[in-house]
């Protein structure tokens, strides 16, 4: 009896587990309607096409955890991806590894500027990254110089998204690697715990000796580096590079985090939550055409789902709080 209750309690109180239940139910419902959803190829496709959002979501998690926000991510992604594409188009750099390093450096620099302006200049995150959003996107256009990079220009690089290692695309290996790294870092390293500490209570963290502005700087630089990686991945997955690529994607990334239970005011959220949030969004995008909802209505459905999820979250939180109060009265 007691154990039964505790299972029900963990489902309703743990955000990740309840989200997992939702995801499983969602997948089951889609599979009944259209059996082709649960095949190996379809899942790999789904993951590959949403790698960018999912990798960026984990970087955004770090930023949301300290109570910040970064809406310049899609622009810094475009800047690093466009630079990588142009370098390949003119044959300056051929080595895939080097391309990744260059893109990461550019993304990291973008993140560093954001981080410095926010942590040292004390500018509100939304303002600083909004300005940065314009600047980086504009720079991407300047780098492109009215050209775009097509699949032919990319040569062998576009096969990076298709080539497989142990039956799984390289791109997905990158995704797994990033998540494994962040999972360990957020849970078991001093740095990860510092991020949580700053997010839960800035003053307490400061008094206990944490250098807050360095932690802030770190999460923004990390986000920039991830944006750089994703820029290169996006170039190879879509096998083209345009300065307007992934315009407005930052909202999808924030939405993935929020669905995954990351609080916008900081301190609450987990890597598993961000992963599940990204997966739910990916599954919805993949499933809507399969269950017969036209592509045109996809955005509306996505918006409604985000809204329903956050409202449900508030309602459950209210009931939990009320129940806790009742228990205390007895």
């Amino acid at each position: 009896m007691k154990k039964n209750k505790s299972i029900l309690k963990t489902i309703t109180t743990s955000r990740e587990i309840s989200l997992l239940v939702v995801l499983v139910l969602l997948c089951a419902a889609i599979t009944i309607k259209s059996p082709s959803f649960m095949t190996y190829k379809s899942i790999i496709d789904m993951l590959r096409n949403n790698t960018v959002t999912m990798i960026m979501a984990v970087g955004m998690l770090g930023i949301l955890l300290i109570g910040g926000i970064d809406i310049s991510v899609a622009s810094s992604l475009a800047l690093s991806g466009m630079t990588a594409g142009m370098l390949m188009k003119y044959g300056v750099v051929k080595n895939v590894f080097l391309i990744f390093l260059i893109a990461m450096a550019i993304g990291g620099l973008c993140g560093l500027i954001n981080g410095l302006v926010i942590s040292r200049g004390k500018v509100l995150p939304i303002i600083a990254t909004m300005g940065a959003m314009y600047v980086y996107r504009g720079l991407a256009y300047l780098v492109a110089n009215n050209e775009w990079v097509s699949a032919e220009d990319l040569g062998t690089f576009s096969s990076f998204a298709l080539d497989k290692f142990w039956g799984i695309n390289y791109v997905i290996w990158v995704l797994i690697g990033v998540y494994a790294l962040f999972f360990v870092m957020m849970k078991w390293t001093r740095l990860g715990r510092k991020v949580y500490a700053v997010g839960s209570n800035k003053e307490a963290a400061s008094i206990s000796g944490i250098n807050i502005s360095n932690v802030e700087l770190f999460v923004y630089v990390m986000m920039g580096i991830l944006a750089g990686i994703c820029g290169t991945i996006a170039v190879s997955v879509y096998s083209s590079a345009q300065p307007n690529m992934l315009y407005g994607k930052e909202m999808d990334i924030i939405a993935a985090c929020v669905i995954g239970g990351v609080s916008m005011s900081g301190g609450r959220g987990s890597v598993a939550g961000a992963l599940l949030g990204g997966l739910v969004l990916a599954a919805i995008a993949k499933a809507l055409p399969l269950v017969g909802i036209e592509a045109i209505a996809q955005n509306t459905v996505k918006g409604v789902i985000i809204l329903v999820v956050i409202i449900l979250n508030v309602i459950t939180q209210r009931t939990i709080d009320r129940n806790n109060l009742k228990e205390r009265e007895i």
Partner: protein
């Protein structure tokens, strides 16, 4: 003592004058003049008549800036306005193409906007725990999604006849109607903000929501009103945008929310709430518009204009912060 007090009285007018110039709004006026001189220097085409002709396209964003300033002063944010503009414009175009009389079309456009704003407001006031950023993010996707469904597979609609809308985009002499409308509305919004109870309530809510609540301000009702007004003004912006563009598509109003927030912040309104003046926001809006028109006249790449705007935006917040930091440091050194 008497001499001292006498001196302070004698200095008083000068100090006020200095304060006016050194305030953020004063700096913006100086910057506005500087931008205009700069634009006149770089392009011989930058004349009054040309600027007036170019202006209506950009002025639509000022309509959104006005209520956005209210929202920011309350410490909230609304990033769905661009999508509301898109949805309202779509509704207006579709309705007008179906042969509905123009007056009804105007009403449909404004009501669509207001309904969208009302939805935002209702959700935010019923579930006060939700951050406005996330709710308006969701509604942003939904409103644009509805517009996409209405537009169908083509993704755009253009007016088959434009009599009514041409009437709106008419001119008195050389000055388009929209300029008068902007001036009237800007004056109205400014007066309401600084001279009425309602305006002072917004500042109270922005500085401390809880204190405002205990002081007897109906916080949630005020927020609902402001969000509805924002929707209404977005509908108005959509109406005037259609009268310039003669159509709508899925990307109509893209980035309006960011532009409006950028103008407000550049004008000295803090997104934390409770600080800033609408006058500053309006001057900032005109600085940005003049810069855009001027740089557009010399065929500068629009992306470079974006870069300049982005840098201006960050610097406008960063520089005062740095100055304040330096001042504090020098003060603490003096104390030692």
């Amino acid at each position: 003592m008497a001499g001292k007090s006498g001196r302070s009285i004698a200095n008083k007018p000068e100090k006020v004058w200095q304060k006016r110039i050194l305030s953020w709004e004063g700096m913006l006026v100086v910057l506005f003049i500087a931008v205009n001189i700069f634009c006149i220097n770089i392009s011989s085409m930058y004349q009054f008549s040309n600027v007036l002709r170019e202006m209506p396209k950009y002025l639509t964003e000022v309509f959104i800036l006005l209520p956005m300033a209210y929202i920011l002063i309350m410490g909230d944010i609304d990033i769905s306005v661009g999508s509301i503009v898109c949805l309202s414009a779509t509704m207006a175009c579709t309705a007008y193409n179906k042969g509905i009389p123009f007056i009804a079309v105007v009403l449909i456009c404004l009501m669509t906007g207001m309904a969208c704003g009302f939805v935002n407001g209702i959700i935010l006031t019923r579930f006060t725990e939700l951050p406005p950023m996330i709710v308006t993010l969701a509604t942003q996707i939904i409103f644009r999604g509805i517009a996409e469904i209405t537009l169908g597979s083509g993704g755009s609609v253009s007016l088959t006849k434009a009599d009514g809308f041409r009437m709106i985009s008419g001119k008195v002499g050389k000055v388009p109607y929209i300029v008068f409308l902007v001036i009237i509305l800007a004056a109205g919004f400014t007066v309401v903000l600084c001279a009425t109870t309602f305006g002072r309530r917004l500042y109270a809510i922005g500085s401390n929501k809880l204190a405002a609540y205990y002081a007897g301000i109906q916080v949630e009702r005020t927020r609902l009103i402001v969000y509805s007004v924002t929707g209404f003004m977005s509908g108005l912006a959509a109406l005037l945008l259609v009268s310039v563009l003669y159509g709508a598509n899925t990307t109509t109003g893209n980035g309006f929310e960011m532009d409006a927030i950028a103008m407000a912040v550049f004008g000295g309104i803090s997104t934390n709430g409770g600080k800033g003046k609408l006058q500053g926001g309006i001057i900032a809006a005109f600085i940005i518009i003049c810069l855009r028109i001027g740089l557009g006249l010399i065929n500068l790449n629009p992306q470079i204009i974006l870069i300049i705007l982005g840098i201006l935006l960050v610097l406008s917040v960063l520089l005062p912060n740095i100055f304040r930091g330096v001042k504090l440091q020098s003060k603490s050194i003096e104390m030692k």
